[in-house]
Symmetry: C2
Subunit: 327 residues, 2 copies
């Protein structure tokens, strides 16, 4: 395998959350990333989310040689042509819209293109994947799904529970995504997804982004070949057009950020008595600079070049093209 | 004078603040308004300003046959062609950006095109026209002026004091406006402006919008002919390219709104012991539906048709064209 094959592809990472600095943005270039969906908010309200957008305005100005803000698939293709990485905004929770339906359009106008309905816990829209009871999509949730469909803000169900996810897939008139998770048939985890859910997602034109986060693959010693087996089986279950990557790469954060990310300010104790620390990543994917390893492994594993192109980015480009404009 | 003359013009009102309902939007159509700069905020912070934008999103959907949201001069011309009124967002204070420079770009992205540096009182940026002491533009004010210049958010000095206004005119690399006020030579009032300020404004390519607010014209019995005399003298002082209208029309509000508008929540007593009430308007301009009266009066008063076209809207269109894009 020559590096040229990887560099000729559109390479998309469907989810990253890092403490961005120039070295980390340079990793994206080293990894040949065409586009990255970055997380702006976990628990932030509307005002705090505006501050996160302000942070990105400064990054786009200071690192204009490395990154651009993408609002459309056209922006993504232009970034690729200019050898820059397109940055796409997303929220991992609905906290930024508070209880105000108009904020869906407002944040879309500011470039937000993905929003999760829930983040682990019950939200105003539905149940998170750690909730023991799941009442599905709420009244406000139905309104928000309709509004997200209208303006072109893609629904992300990565941290939602099963009933809420199935409800959302059924309610949405447009394809939805699970930007970063894996099938439960590969590794049983509260964040991974059932065959039933993955099939429903694919049948409605959606996409699953495979996570490399250690807890979603059974730990850092997960062999790359086992991971590729999982991709193969997911392709058989969902179809080759409905899979991609969403690595959940988290770079540059202190352990304290993990506590914020998981628990916000809703609890003092949900992470257990010990303070959590960031897990070790597999040797074959320590940072986004290792993205070429994924391309080469899939080719070695027997995927055709066109199939690899779909998995590495073309399927995400379809979601961008069909998902980001008015419905 | 036939009504056709008025209808053939681009008619712009540089400032209105009304409690918008369908009948009031219909008044804009009756008055032949091509574009109106509407006020979204007096004292609101960032979050509350987002709610005002949400209010307008709903109005644009519900009254799509009457109004459209304009972000560019092209949008304004398209509105005229479609026989709709273009709505342009503005803030009468800098409270929406709080102390966060990034919010200048953020609100510009949401369509805000005018912002006053101050509203009557001292702000983080400079002094309002009711302050006894005026230290001019502040450190943050200089940053905000530079940023407004960069993104294309037009500086409005209507409620600023003289030194702050002169500072801003000097600091700004792009033309600034006084969207709604009158010359002090016509009616001496803390809100009206000195010859020195008006000349400085015009010399830097700016624009004064003549106010019809009763307190700015000496009361409801101000004769239309006196008003036209003032326009004539202002044209001589500033040049025919630097004047227009900003009526300060306020429709549909209870008296309690006047108290909020003037005093926000910073005082209980600034309006004096008596509760303020809305003033009576002149018979020749009770509502924006009376805009044709202004066109006809200026023509009767001896202005050439081309001069009237400039005053009624073309000068504002120049500000929109030159002021709303990146600098």
């Amino acid at each position: 395998m020559t590096p040229d094959i990887h560099n000729s592809l559109h390479v998309v990472d469907g989810l990253q959350y890092s403490n961005w600095s120039r070295p980390l943005l340079e990793e994206l270039r080293t990894g040949g990333l065409t586009a990255v969906h970055v997380t702006l908010a976990y628990w932030e309200d509307a005002r705090a989310s505006l501050a996160r957008i302000g942070d990105w305005q400064r990054r786009f100005r200071e690192h204009a040689d490395l990154i651009i803000h993408a609002r459309t698939v056209g922006d993504v293709l232009a970034a690729k042509a200019a050898r820059k990485t397109a940055i796409i905004f997303g929220f991992q929770n609905c906290s930024p819209i508070e209880n105000d339906l108009s904020l869906v359009q407002t944040f879309h106008e500011l470039g937000v293109r993905f929003m999760q309905l829930t983040y682990n816990n019950q939200s105003l829209l539905g149940s998170g994947c750690y909730e023991p009871n799941d009442a599905g999509v709420s009244r406000f949730g139905r309104e928000v799904i309709r509004e997200m469909n209208r303006v072109g803000l893609v629904i992300d169900l990565s941290h939602s529970s099963q009933r809420t996810s199935l409800d959302a897939i059924e309610l949405s008139r447009r394809p939805v995504v699970i930007s970063h998770a894996n099938p439960n048939f590969f590794h049983q985890n509260v964040r991974n997804k059932s065959d039933r859910l993955l099939k429903a997602l694919a049948e409605r034109g959606g996409l699953l982004g495979f996570s490399l986060y250690p807890l979603h693959i059974g730990g850092a010693d997960c062999p790359l070949e086992s991971f590729c087996d999982m991709v193969k089986r997911a392709a058989e279950l969902m179809g080759i057009d409905h899979i991609g990557f969403g690595t959940d790469s988290v770079r540059g954060w202190p352990d304290s950020e993990l506590d914020w990310m998981r628990n916000g300010r809703w609890t003092e104790g949900a992470s257990g008595s010990a303070k959590p620390s960031w897990p070790e990543w597999p040797a074959w994917f320590r940072t986004p600079a290792d993205f070429p390893n994924l391309t080469h492994a899939l080719l070695r594993h027997g995927f055709a070049r066109g199939e690899v192109a779909k998995i590495m980015g073309d399927n995400w480009l379809r979601i961008f093209r069909d998902g980001f404009g008015p419905g």
